[in-house]
Amino acid sequence: MFDIQTHMDFVGQAKAERWSRLIITLFGVIGLIYGAFMQQFSQTVYVLGAGFLLSSLITIPPWPFYRNNPLKWQKPVNTEQKQQPGDSSDEGKKKKK
């Protein structure tokens, strides 16, 4: 009915992991500096929480831009060439003989 894709390709998975690590680390560092400046450790935790939410939004759902590098599968090999319509009639004749 609807063709909803829910997968990430391999490049997309690597990208998602790298982005989530980067966002959380960055927000952690910013939070630490801000909390040290404000002398309020709860601010540090809140900034880290914001980074967690942003990272969750960006990297957890399988967004379409994580599917830009699909795998190049080999073309399917047709192993049953003999059963094409022309051949099959021919084969039938042979069997009848």
Binding site: A16, R21, G28, F41, L48, F52, S55, T59, I60
Partner: protein, 178 residues
Amino acid sequence: MHTVLTRGNATVAYSLSVLACLTFCCFISTVFLDYRTDAKINTVRVLVKNVPDYGASREKHDLGFVTFDLETNLTNIFNWNVKQLFLYLTAEYKTTSNQLNQVVLWDKIILRGDNAVLDFKNMNTKYYFWDDGNGLKDNKNITLSLSWNIIPNAGLLPSVQSTGKHVFKFPAEYASSI
């Protein structure tokens, strides 16, 4: 990282690791600070009675009555790794039966954000100043000192003693016990 659940798991786990790391940074930034401060302690009214200690042996023990002044400014102690202070006033003295006696007479909790500039006049003690014998009468060397426990977000639970102390003596006569 191939499904929503594994990515969610990895994100939560990494966030918690970063949180632990940040908490450790907060601890390491305050662990070497010097939390000592001055405090001015003074006694106003000092008397000693000889009354039965029904809470313990029912024998007559010395009970000290002290009112005190306390002036100190603890504002500088608070930082991002101090949630609250537990102040306590200790009397320390020596008797013939014990080398060291320590009695907590009064305490107070100061949360961060509360007024930390203390100026108390003629305060009563919160707890009884019982001696376990008759060591208070005519004791010439009782030392009052203020100490505080620091309750942190993360790390050690240091107990710090103020630099200011007060030495007083008890009278040589019992006050008329009621």
